[in-house]
C-alpha cells in the first residue's frame, strides 16, 4: 500500500515536528554539554517551517488518511497558537535550564513530541486520532514534569500527574468505546449522523457523553476534575508549568469543542446544562481558592482553573439550544480569542516568575516580591501588566477576551451568567492586585541586602517582549485577532 502524497502533505507540520524531535533525541547523547542549546534552535527552526506550512494550508479544508485527520482553518488557528506558545516556551527554557544547570537536550525533544500530540488532537476528525494525540501530549508532559530528577517536588508532581492523567485517559477511552458501541463508528461525522436519529434519553449514550466530559474535564482542569492542577503546576519546573498551563489547555479545548460541537452536537440539549454547572463551579472554586494561596505558582494554577471557567462560558453559549447560529458562533470564536490572549498573559507571568529565581532558591513565595518595584522596576512593571491583564482590566488584552465572552453570554440570554462571571472577575482582581500591591506599596525588607539576582538573558527578554506586545497590542487593537478567530470557527449546525 502506498500513501497518497496529498495525505502526507496534510500532516506535513506534524511530520516536521516529530522529525525535529527525533533528530534532537538522537543528537543529544553525542552533543557536548556546552552545545546542547544548539539543539533547541533545531526545534525553533522546525517551528518556523511549520508556521509557513500551516499558513499556506489556511483557508482550505482537507480530509486525509480515510477521514482520520482534518486540516481546516479551525485546526490551523490552534496550530498557529501552539507554535507561538511552543516557540516562546523553548526560548524561556533556554534561560531557565541554564539557571537550573540542567543540560538536557531531551527536554526539547519531549517538548516537541508533546506539541506533535497537541497538533494531532486539534486536527483529528476521529476519536482514534484524538485519543492518540491526547496520549502523546500527556506522556511527554509526564516526563517533562519530572525532568528535574534530583528534586523531590518535581518527581512528586510527575507521579501525581501521571496517576491522574492515566486515570482520566482510561475514563475517556471507556467513553469512546461506549460511543463506538452505540454509533458503530469512531468518526465524528458518522457519530453525528448516528446520534441524529436516536432518542436523546438513551442511558448508554448519556453515560458515554458523561465519561467523555470527565475525560476532557481532567485535561482542561475544570472543577471537579481540577485537583491535580495546583500540585503539578507548583512542583514542575517553571518553564514546563507555563507550557502545560497554556499549550495543553489550548489543545484540549480545541479537541473538546470539536468533539462536542461536531460529533455530539445533536446532544447539545443534554450537555448544555452539564457544562453550565461545571462552568460555574470552575469559576467559583478557581477564583475563591486562589485568594488564600501564598505560592505564586499555586496561585497561577488556581487562576488557570478560573480561566478555564471563563472559556467554558463561550462553550456554553456555543452549545445553547435556542440561540441563533450567529450567536453560537460568537461563543465559539470568543473561546478561541480568550485562549489566545490567555496564552500571552500566562506565559508572561510565568516568564517573570522564572526571571526572579534567586541562586538555587525559587523566588516563588508572593512574599519574595515585597518591594520589588524599588529593587527591580522593570520586572515589577512587567508583572504589573500581566496581573492587570489576567484580572481583565482595560486597556489590556484580558479585558478584550472577557468582553467578547460576556457579550456572547448576554446575547444568548444568559445575562445572569455574565453577571456571576463579572462578580468573580472582581474577586480575581483582589488576588492579582495583591501581587501588585506587595511589589509597589511595601518597602523592601531591610534584611534583603542588595539587588536580587535576576536570571536575565536575551532569550528571556524576547519571551517577555513578545508576551508584553501580545497583551498590549491585543488590548489596544484586537481587530486582526478577532477577525482571525471568526474566520477559523467550526461550521455549527
Amino acid at each position: 500500500m502506498t500513501l497518497p502524497l496529498t495525505d502526507i502533505l496534510a500532516i506535513l507540520p506534524e511530520l516536521i515536528v516529530v522529525g525535529a524531535a527525533c533528530l534532537i533525541l538522537v543528537l543529544d547523547p553525542i552533543t557536548s554539554a556546552a552545545r546542547k542549546e544548539w539543539l533547541a534552535w533545531i526545534g525553533l527552526g522546525a517551528l518556523a517551517a511549520c508556521v509557513g506550512v500551516t499558513v499556506s494550508q489556511m483557508g482550505v479544508t482537507v480530509m486525509a488518511f480515510s477521514d482520520l485527520v482534518i486540516v481546516d482553518p479551525y485546526a490551523g488557528f490552534w496550530k498557529l497558537l501552539l507554535y507561538v506558545v511552543s516557540g516562546l516556551t523553548i526560548l524561556l527554557s533556554l534561560a531557565y535550564l541554564k539557571e537550573e544547570a540542567m543540560h538536557l537536550a531531551e527536554y526539547y525533544g519531549f517538548l516537541l513530541l508533546s506539541l506533535a500530540g497537541m497538533m494531532v488532537m486539534v486536527s483529528a476528525a476521529d476519536l482514534l486520532t484524538i485519543y492518540l494525540g491526547t496520549e502523546l501530549m500527556s506522556l511527554s508532559l509526564y516526563i517533562l514534569a519530572g525532568i528535574k530528577r534530583t528534586e523531590g517536588r518535581s518527581l512528586e508532581a510527575s507521579a501525581k500527574y501521571f496517576v491522574l492523567g492515566a486515570f482520566s485517559s482510561g475514563i475517556l477511552l471507556y467513553g469512546i468505546s461506549l460511543l463506538f458501541g452505540i454509533t458503530g463508528s469512531t468518526k465524528l461525522s458518522a457519530i453525528a449522523s448516528a446520534i441524529h436519529g436516536r432518542s436523546l434519553d438513551d442511558p448508554l449514550l448519556l453515560l458515554a457523553m458523561i465519561l467523555l466530559v470527565v475525560g476532557f474535564g481532567f485535561k482542561i482542569a475544570a472543577v471537579p476534575f481540577h485537583m491535580w492542577t495546583p500540585d503539578v503546576y507548583e512542583g514542575s519546573p517553571t518553564s514546563v508549568t507555563a507550557f502545560m498551563a497554556v499549550a495543553s489547555k489550548a489543545a484540549s479545548f480545541g479537541a473538546f469543542m470539536r468533539v462536542f460541537l461536531e460529533g455530539l452536537g445533536g446532544l447539545k440539549a443534554n450537555w448544555h446544562g452539564l457544562f453550565l454547572i461545571v462552568c460555574i463551579a470552575t469559576l467559583v472554586l478557581g477564583n475563591v481558592v486562589a485568594i488564600v494561596q501564598t505560592n505564586i505558582k499555586r496561585m497561577l494554577a488556581y487562576s488557570s482553573i478560573a480561566h478555564a471557567g471563563y472559556a467554558l462560558i463561550g462553550v456554553v453559549v456555543a452549545g445553547h439550544a435556542t440561540a441563533s447560529i450567529e450567536i453560537r458562533s460568537l461563543g465559539l470564536s470568543s473561546v478561541m480569542l480568550y485562549l489566545a490572549i490567555y496564552a500571552f498573559m500566562t506565559l508572561g507571568a510565568f516568564a517573570v516568575v522564572a526571571l526572579l529565581r534567586k541562586g538555587g532558591v525559587e523566588g516563588e513565595d508572593i512574599e519574595d516580591y515585597t518591594g520589588l518595584a524599588k529593587r527591580q522596576p522593570v520586572a515589577a512593571f512587567l508583572m504589573l501588566v500581566f496581573m492587570v491583564s489576567l484580572a481583565g482590566i482595560p486597556p489590556t488584552a484580558g479585558f478584550i477576551g472577557k468582553f467578547y465572552l460576556f457579550m456572547g453570554a448576554v446575547r444568548a440570554g444568559l445575562t445572569w451568567l455574565a453577571v456571576v462571571a463579572l462578580l468573580l472577575a472582581a474577586v480575581s482582581a483582589y488576588y492579582y492586585l495583591r501581587v501588585v500591591m506587595v511589589m509597589y506599596m511595601r518597602e523592601p525588607d531591610a534584611s534583603v541586602t542588595g539587588q536580587p539576582r535576576l536570571a536575565a538573558s536575551p532569550a528571556l527578554a524576547i519571551v517577555l517582549a513578545c508576551a508584553l506586545a501580545g497583551v498590549v497590542l491585543c488590548g489596544l487593537y484586537p481587530n486582526p485577532l478577532v477577525a482571525l478567530t471568526q474566520q477559523a470557527i467550526l461550521a455549527l449546525k
Binding site: 506522556l139 523531590g152 507521579a159 492515566a166 486515570f167 477511552l173 471507556y174 458501541g181 485537583m227
Partner: protein, 101 residues
C-alpha cells in the same frame, strides 16, 4: 451459539469498575498502575465485542492502538516510579507529602 453482546458489556463494566475503585482506594502506586491497566483492558473488551457485533474492524484496530499506548504508558509510569523510589525509598502515595495532595 453466540454470546449476546450484553454479556460482554457487563464483563467490561465489572472490570472497569474494579480498576476505577482500585485507583481510588489503593495506596501503593504500583497497584494503582495495575488498576489503570484494568480500566484500559475493560475498554479493549468493549471494542472487540462491538467490533464483532457490527462486523466492523474499526474496533479491533482501536484495540491495537490502545494496547500500544498502554505499553508506552507503563514504560513512562514505571520510570517515574523508579525515580520516585530512589528519592523517597517508598512507593506509598501517603508518603508523598511535599505538595499538598
Amino acid at each position: 451459539m453466540t454470546v449476546p453482546i450484553s454479556y460482554y458489556l457487563v464483563l467490561s463494566a465489572i472490570v472497569f469498575l474494579t480498576g476505577l475503585v482500585g485507583v481510588l482506594i489503593r495506596r501503593n502506586i504500583i497497584i494503582i498502575l495495575l488498576s489503570v491497566e484494568l480500566m484500559l483492558n475493560a475498554t479493549n473488551i468493549n471494542f472487540v465485542a462491538f467490533s464483532h457485533h457490527f462486523h466492523n474492524v474499526t474496533g479491533q484496530v482501536f484495540v491495537f492502538f490502545a494496547l500500544t499506548v498502554a505499553a508506552a504508558e507503563v514504560a513512562v509510569g514505571l520510570a517515574i516510579i523508579i525515580a520516585l523510589y530512589r528519592s523517597k525509598a517508598s512507593i506509598n502515595v501517603d508518603d508523598f507529602q511535599l505538595l499538598k495532595w
